[in-house]
Structure formats: C-alpha cells, structure tokens
Symmetry: C3
Subunit: 458 residues, 3 copies
C-alpha cells in the first residue's frame, strides 16, 4: 500500500458520506411511511379469524430464502471469477444489494401498496425487493471491474427507481405476466447495464487486460455462485407466482429448462472450444440461461417438453454469444461487457419474453380450465383474448427495452461525473484500489504491490 | 495448450454429439410421454375441491431443495479435493446430474407412474430423479479422474436405467422399505462404481500419482461439499417418507446419527493417524457415513439412541476402511477407488441395509400403533409378519448387490470401447485434457503446461 | 511432518479417548432418557386427531435447516480467514458443534422437557441444540488458533451446561424474552469466550504473528461464511418464535436490520481505513452485527424503522470496535480475541439486550392488541406491567454477564490443565500441529514444514 498515491480527502470521504446519506434518507422514509402489513403486525394479524398456519410466511419464506441466497451468494461469487477482483465482486454485491433492498422496498411500496399514508411490508415485499436487487446486480456484471463503489451506489439509486416504474407499467398498467422476470429483471438489468457500459466506454482498457482473466481457484469460487444460482432458480421463478399449482408448475418447468441448457452448453462449449476443450466461462454462465428463458413462461402451461426445448435453445444461444458475439460487442459496438450479461441475461431474457408471447397466444380455456383465472386473469374474465394478451406481452418487452436503454444512458452520464472515484483504465479489475488486500500466499501476506503496479501507479 | 497433441475430429466431436443426441432423445420422449401431474397442472389441480395449501409442493419442496443442493453442490465440491481436477469434479457432476435428472424422470416414470399413455411429474418425481442422480455421482466418485465426460455420460445412461429397475424390484415388487436409499442409492451406486472401476483397471496409474492428492485450498473446497452434505442429509432421508411424524422422525434420526459418526471419525482418524494427527480425507468423508447408515432405518422407530449407535459404528468402519482397506482394495483386488466410495457408501450402505433388517424384525404393533400403516403397510395389514418383512429387506440387499455388480461389469465393458476418449494412465486426475485451464496464480494466468507435462504429452 | 518432534503416547491418545468417552457417555444417557416427542413418535402422533399438515415439522424445519447451515457452514468458514488455520477452523467447528448438539439435547432436555422419566425431542429441541452450539462457536472464535481440540471439547462440555442453566434462568425463571438470543447466545458466548481467553493469555503470542493474518483466498473462503450467516439470520432469530405473525415479523425485522448494519459497516470501514480503503475484517464481521442486535427485539413491535436504526448502530459500534477497541483489549486487558467476538457478538449482544429492554418498556396493549399474549404473555395476563417486563429483561442481561464471566473464568482454569495439548505460543494459528497438511500448491503437495518451522519445532 505504501507505494500507492494518496487519495484526496474528497475521494476518501466519498463512499462513507454516500453510504451515510443514502442510509439516512431511507431510514427517514421508513420512519414516515413503512409499516408492518396484516401478516406481520401483531395487532392486525390477531384481529382476523384465521389459523397461524395460514400466514403467508409459510408459503413464501422458503422460496424467499432461496432467492436471497441467489442474490447475495450466487451473484456475488459468480462474479468472483476475476483473479484480483474477488473482494470487490463479493463485497460490492453485498453493499449494492443491501442498499437496493431498502430502496426498492420504498419504490415498489409506493407503486404497489401505498394506501395514501403508508407502505405495508411482509414476505412478498421482501421477495420483490430481492428481485430488484437482482436486476441491479445484473447491471453490475456489465460494468464489473470498471466502476467504483460510489458509482455503483448511484447506479443502484437510479436503477431501482426505474426498475420499479417499468415493473409497475408492465404488471399493473399493461397487465403483462412476468413472474420470474424475463423482462422486468433480466432484460431490464442487462440492457440497462450494457448501455451504461457503452457510455462509460474505456478506450485504453487493454492496459488492464492481464487482470481480466481468471485463475484456477477463482474459477472454482465462481462455480459456487453458478451452482447456487442453478439449484435455486426454480424457487426464483416460482417465488411470486400464485399458490398451489402455480408455484409447483413454475418450479418444475424451471428445473427441466435448466437441465437442458446445461446439456446444450456443454455440447456447444466443446464444439466451439479450442481442440474440443470446455470453457469454464460458458459452463459458469450459459448453463444458467435455462432459468432466464422461462422467467415469463414457466408459470404458464409450457409443458415439460416446452421447458426442455426453451432451455436447450437458451443454452445454445448463450454459449454462441460468449464465443462469437461478445468480441464483436466490444470491437464494433464499444460495449465492454465484463461478465457477458448480454449472453446470460440479455438475449435469453428477450427470448424468454418472446416465449411468453407465444405461450400466452396459445392459452386456451381447454388447457387451463378453472386455473386460467390465476395465470391469465384478464383472459379468464374475457376482458382480453389470448392473442390480445400475447400482444400486451410483446408490448411489455418493448417498454422494458426502452426504459432500460434510456435509463442506462442517463445512468452512464451520471456515473461519468468527475470525483466519483472511477478506476483509471490501467487499474481496472483490481481490488487494491478499494480494499486493503493481503498477499496471495503466506510469504507476501502483507500484500505489497508488485513491481509493475508500483510503476503504473507512480 | 500449444504443446498438446491435436485430437482427431472424431474425438473432438464425441462429447458435443453425445450431449446433443441424448438431449434430443429425452426431449422427444418428453414430448410424447411426460405430462404435469394433478398437483402441477392448471386444469387438473383446479378441478379438485381443495385448498392451495394442500398442494404437495408445500410439504416436499423445501426438502427437495436441500436434496438438490446436496446433489449438485455437495457431491461436486466433495470431489473437488484433487489438486488439478476441480473443474472436472464440479463440471462433470453438473453435466452428469443434469442429464440423469431428465433420463431418470423417464425411466422412473415408466416404472412408477405410467398409465398406459403418459408419465406424470411433480415434486415427488423431482426428488426421485435427484436421488437417482445421487447414485450416479457415487459411481462417478469411484472412477473420478480416470474417465472422460463421454464415458461418464454412457455410464449414466446405463446406470439410471438399472437404478430404476432395481428400485422398482425392491420397492414395488418386494415391498422393501428404503426411504433414504441405503440400498437403492448408496449400496447400488457404490458397487456399480467399484465393479466398473475394476473393469477399467489402469495398471500404470502410478504415473499420475503426483496429481492424486489434495492441496491446501482444494481440501477447503471439498469441505464445502462435506458440510452441505452433512447439514442437509436429514432432508435427504426424509424427503420421500410419509408426511407428518414420518418425515419428522426420519430427519431427527439422521441428525443424531450424523453427530455420532462425526465424533467417531475424529476419534478414529486421530487414533490411526501419523503422530496423532487428523486426516482431512477421513473428516471429509467418513463423518458423512452416519447419514448413509440410517438411510433405510431412519423412518422406522430406531430410537434416538439407536441413531447414535448406528452413526458411531458407521463413522468407525468408514474411517478404518480409508486407512486400512482402500490400499488393499487397490493392491489385492485391483479396484482403484478414487474417492473411497467403498468406505463412505459401500460398507455403510450395507450396514444400513442390515440395520433396516434388524429394526424391521423388531417392529411391533405396540411400538408403532396406528403409525404402523405408514411405515410397514404390509405388516399393518397382516400380509406379512415383522420377521417376514425383515427377510424381504435382506433379500432387497442381495438383489441390489447383484444388479450393481452385473451392471457395473457390463458398464465397464461398455466404457472400454475405443474412441470414448479415456485419459491415458499418465494423464489422469488432470483437468487440462478436457478443459481450458488458466494458471494457478496471476503470473501464469495463461495456463501453460509445465515442462514435465509437455514431455509426457509430446 | 518428518521434522516434527514425536508426541508422547498420552497426548496422541488424548483426542481419541476424549471423543470416545464423551460419545459413550451421551449415548448411554440417550438410551436412558431420550425419547421421540408426540410429533415424531409413530404411536403418539397417530393417536391424536389431526392432519399430518399440522405437524410442527412443516412450520419449523425450513428455519431449522437455515440455522443448521449457519452453525456448521457459516461459523466454520467465517473463521477460515486465517491463512494456515482453515482445516482447524472448519474441522473443529464441525467436531465441537456435533458434540454440542448431543450434549445440549440432554442439558436443555433435562431443564425444559423432563417429565420425571424422559426427555422428549423433535424439531424444536433440534433448533435449541443448534442455538447452544452457536454459543460454543462464538466462544471458539475468541480462542481460535490458541487452543487444541481436546481443550475445545472440554470447553464445550462446560459451556453447554452453563448455557442451558443461564437460558433456563432467563426464559423460565425470570420470564425474559430472547428468541434470537442477544443475551443467551451472543452475550453469553462472547463473554464466556473472552474471559476464558483472558485466563489463557499467551504472553509470547507475537511469535505466531506472521500466521495471524489472512491471505487473499482465505478471505474469500471467510466471505462464504459471512454471506450464509447474513442471509439466514432472519431464520435464526425467527426459528423459535411463535407461529404466524411472530415468525413473520421477526424475519422481517432482522432482514432490515442487517441491510442497515451492512451500509454502516461499509461507511465506517472506509472512513477509518488507511487511505479510504475497505477492510475485509470489518465487512466479514461487523456487517453481521445487525442480526445480533435485534436478537431480543425482533419478535417485538420494533417497527421497520427501529430495525434499520438498530442495525445501523450495531454496524457502527462493531466496526469502530474492530478498529480501536480490539488493540486496547489485547494491550490493556490482556484479552486476545482472535475473531473479534467482542465486536461482533459482545457489544452488539449487550446493545441488543438493551434494545429489548427499551422495546419491552414501550409495549402497549394498543400496539399489540390480541397479539400481546404471544409476545409478552405475562404482560397480557396482567401479571406484569410493561415496565416491569423491561426491568426483568435488564436483569436477564446482568445474570447472563455473570454466568458468562464466572463460567469463562472457571473454563479457563480447566483448560490450563497440563497434558491438554495446547499449542505453544510460537505454534498458534497453525494447522500442522493437529492435521496432516498438504502443500499450498502442487509442487509441495507433500506438505513439508518450512525452514523456520523446523527450527522452531526442533
């Protein structure tokens, strides 16, 4: 650390002040507006004539915990594949998600449960807040290693607000179905992050190229993230769906879709790999595309075969994206997409939205019978035809892409404000700018900068 | 990578084609045969007159998620103890299990829920498919590091089918009880893998000896697997048992059995260790034997003391097996058992089957009262005496050993087919044959082969 | 290993004999006293006229599994931050907790469910046993790296007994509320461990200073522990609370408190850090203080704002404690607190107890209505005023501090018994004393001692 240049007091105070300011603001808003809902409030719950076993907690909390694990552990460790950016990947995920949970409680509360005086919270709002944090972390993946924590907090501040508005427009205004968030979470998070990354384009990023890859152990840490995301994705998609067959079917479809995206990812990775070898980047990421692609359709009567087919397609598209499209995205479109969120969340998210259009269009009273009410209430009550519902689904995709692009563009301009402590092009993917870093092994446990870095920083 | 010999096109295409072929075949079979069951189908579920809270989902899904975690994360990381085989351990676990889930849905479906036209799926079939994947991964443990992914997929193809048949014979034909799979999963998976490993015997494996051990960090990664297997094993054994006291008692018994196997493992490991030191191999594996040994008996009235005693015995036998029996197995019987599955799953599985014989023989109407119907339905309905049930349990063990041995032998012959891309004896326990591998630290992040390997490969 | 001195037979047999003795004793006591309760016993459960869905298992088991994960994986890996003590951190956590579960089943059973003949066990006793194991592991954190496994088992033997008595005095005798254990678990575990560490003071510990820090990868392993503790803490605090709104509200409050302690930890860590850099020690630990501080109050009507405020305060105090108080604790008070349990469990635990005093004092019939019965039964039945309940809460804190201090002091004297195989001052934080340790990378996979250690040991 001794060799590094001293940062000015302004920059040293930036993160602390921003954290304190944001925390103070949300705390005040919580004090004024946030109240327990009738399932969590001692007085309200005991007013009703119901068994404790009826409490929403018992139907949603196990799913919530799986989602919570995905957000904090899954995303955090998935991004820890970089050789010298593990502290930041896991640590900033922690910080961003913790802030996003509070802030999206407020935003989503105002849009969905505000009764004129108060916002009411319980396990459903907890799940929705975690979903919003997921979208923020997807965007984080696009700019991973090229942004500081203060920039990221501002990104979250903006993105959570836009996420809430977009979600409100889709679900409440357009009557779109999107339980697992192919549109609201994955498409939105990916394109918000990609446009933002475009605006933050770093022309001399090749100076940090030597830190952009993984090392053996960092790839194993990333696999912890992958596996937790993979195993709990059925809970992610099913967490907010209607109780009973709705949650059950959603989990089942997601489970099968993921098995198929795993097989297609292995197949394609070996096919396009040098000398037939598998690439860890594909396995860590594209194998998850099966969860993204059924985010909209898994609560519908997709059929088990439909889930397999969708997952297979998503794994294929995603792997090919990593191999062929990511380089073009950087060279032609100047979008530097660190984690390849375009391949894991962008394209599979759009595919998932289109799959939702298709399955909605095919919905018949015959196939759903009395269950139609809970999946497509507007079709069940004859306010819409299935075709009309499909068109609204498609409209939802375009609205999402519009919100994400404009929001990401605006976010990029915001994050380019000077004094936000962005890392220089030659110091990207490097923990030491923001963290006290010990050595890689016990002989250098004091964490000295290596020769080359000293030169760079001097 | 540059120094390695180019593989022929045939071998390069082997894994992709096999994955695509298997995925295509299961997808077609899914399209023809697999349908939502009445708990997951929108039309079927809403036909009934029941509350959404009655859906099987709420009683099985949390257990399913724990089992799912064990299969993908637990087994995967437990096998990541090898210093240069972490990608393959975690990655091939991922591939094999993803395929096995689809394939066993079909096999088990045809055997258990086929109504002449369709197979019906829901959370119970998901649990059973995961169980079958667990057996495949146990066999994988026996041949870990000595087989390529194409071989492993063929092994899974065969093993899943035999697993299903053996399970059907035991549960449906012989009326054997084996909720947690001491026989159907552990004994079957272990001896299938061991016989298969015998047939694949590699006489010059000592050439790969330097890669067969662990390094400090790989042992910690393996402990992640161990701990997740250990904490979720109560869910594994209880996932398919009858609701109510059945699941509750099974989880409780497993919990106590595991604490006792942990204490006996620490005791024995220090006792037989060089200079009183503990051996990570024992702790990672033998401490889990308490879960295996109560796989059959934990749903019965084993008593908490019985659980402790069984766990204690299993930990003891397993640790002694690692110390004294594994070397003999290799030198005398030519069975190279990479993970020591004979010690963790083989012997404790057989012990667990015998424990089931004993506890079944001791079952009385006095001890179970009206609960006898759900644990031993054939005894409750006086179609069998308790002694007779015990004899059937014993028969189940011999049937399992027979299926596993013959199946493993046949599997071994299948896997010796040329052009299946098996690693040479000098290149076992090595990720670089099948994976693009980065370096161990940032100075060699491009992953060059070391001098010695270049020579070997040249 | 070759360079190390041979240990005497007495010391080699110490751990095996102690494990076997303790396991034998608990097994005998289990045989005599422990029986299935009416929810786990086949005969008893089927006697009642209830649905299987009413079984306590379905309301508590998912929370139990989260707690179980925290105890074995969370605590174990959180303590794996030390560069050469990962095996011991994870392994001894495993051993201690496995023993503590059995032993506390007995102790807590005798105190809470003994009917003159038997102790009855089920999912609630499993949760309580895990809670007790948590307290033991907190104390382990204070003496981490400076104690051998035999010492630790004796510590657990004593601490579990005292934990049970203290808990009984608070909950049953004083009528104190402490669902998440701010007092019974965190305050008790921390001060027991700190006083014990004081008695075991090692004057020449600076000889092991070079092993006391982390390395890059060990910090990432520790973050696995942190994240699992963080995400599952809502389950920890809510696991034993009353069903319905009680569990729901407790989980919600804990969730918000943790988000606030995370933000304040990041703010304070950067503020007091060298050159504005974040410190992994703070992030790994202080961010969790929000879970500790609402251990008592989260089941009460704390309000979401109250949860945020409490979490914010706890994160702040804890981070400042790590920065400024830990060095003083060692230099002035001769308390060597390896993991800083005073900062994570001690001070936040005391704050949590005081928060419980405050929120109890503010309890009104107006705020709780019919729910008052389940949160403050003695106030609801007019046996106590809210102010009186608050005074009892405060008394509970003092009783806990007294039990912890006296117990820790006595424990320290016990652990100073010769022949308990304590590590010498120059060999602290070192796995090789108790474990067969492979090398750090593949070139030294045989694990030779480094030059300096050979000298030290010779």
């Amino acid at each position: 650390m001794d060799g590094s240049p001293r940062r000015g007091a302004c920059r040293r105070l930036l993160l602390p002040l921003l954290c304190l300011l944001l925390q103070g603001a949300t705390a005040i808003l919580f004090a004024i507006f946030v109240r327990y809902n009738q399932e969590t409030d001692a007085a309200l719950w005991h007013r009703g004539n119901h068994s404790n076993a009826d409490n929403e907690f018992y139907f949603r909390y196990p799913s919530f915990q799986d989602v919570h694990t995905m957000v904090f552990l899954g995303f955090g460790f998935l991004m820890a594949f970089l050789q010298r950016y593990g502290f930041s990947s896991v640590g900033f995920t922690f910080l961003l998600a913790a802030f996003a949970l509070q802030w999206s409680t407020l935003i989503q509360g105002f849009l969905h449960s505000f009764d004129g005086s108060y916002i009411y919270v319980g396990v459903e709002s907890m799940i929705n807040a975690d979903f919003c944090a997921g979208a923020v972390l997807i965007s984080f993946g696009a700019v991973l290693g090229k942004t500081g924590p203060a920039q990221l907090l501002l990104m979250a501040l903006l993105e959570v607000a836009l996420f809430g508005i977009n979600e409100f427009v889709l679900l409440s205004f357009l009557g779109v179905k999107d339980a697992g968030g192919s549109m609201t979470i994955h498409t939105f998070g990916a394109y918000f992050g990609l446009v933002l990354s475009r605006v933050l384009y770093k022309p001399r990023l090749e100076k940090s190229k030597h830190r952009q890859g993984s090392i053996y152990h960092s790839d194993l840490f990333a696999m912890i993230g992958t596996i937790f995301l993979w195993i709990f994705w059925p809970s992610f998609n099913s967490a907010p769906t209607t109780l009973g067959d709705g949650q059950h079917r959603t989990a089942l479809n997601t489970y099968y879709s993921l098995t198929a995206s795993t097989l297609s990812t292995f197949a394609l990775s070996a096919l396009v790999g040098g000398d037939g070898r598998l690439d860890m980047v594909h396995i860590q990421n594209a194998a998850l595309a099966g969860g993204v692609v059924v985010g909209t359709a898994s609560e519908m009567m997709l059929t088990p075969f439909g889930a397999l087919a969708a997952g297979f397609l998503a794994g294929t598209v995603s792997t090919l994206g990593y191999k062929f499209f990511t380089p073009i995205l950087e060279s032609k479109f100047k979008v530097q997409d660190t984690c390849g969120v375009h391949n894991l969340h962008g394209m599979p998210g759009v595919l998932g939205a289109l799959l939702g259009v298709l399955v909605a269009a095919l919905a018949t009273h015959e196939a759903y019978k009395d269950g139609l009410q809970s999946v497509f209430p507007l079709v069940a009550t004859v306010q819409r035809s299935a075709t009309s519902q499909a068109m609204y689904q498609l409209l939802g995709l375009f609205v999402t892409l519009m919100f994400a692009s404009v929001g990401g563009g605006f976010g990029g301009l915001l994050l380019r404000l000077p004094c936000l402590d962005a890392p220089p092009d030659s110091q990207c993917y490097e923990d030491q700018i923001y963290w006290e870093v010990p050595g890689e092994n016990e002989d250098e446990a004091q964490g000295p900068l290596r020769e080359e870095e000293r030169d760079t920083q001097a």
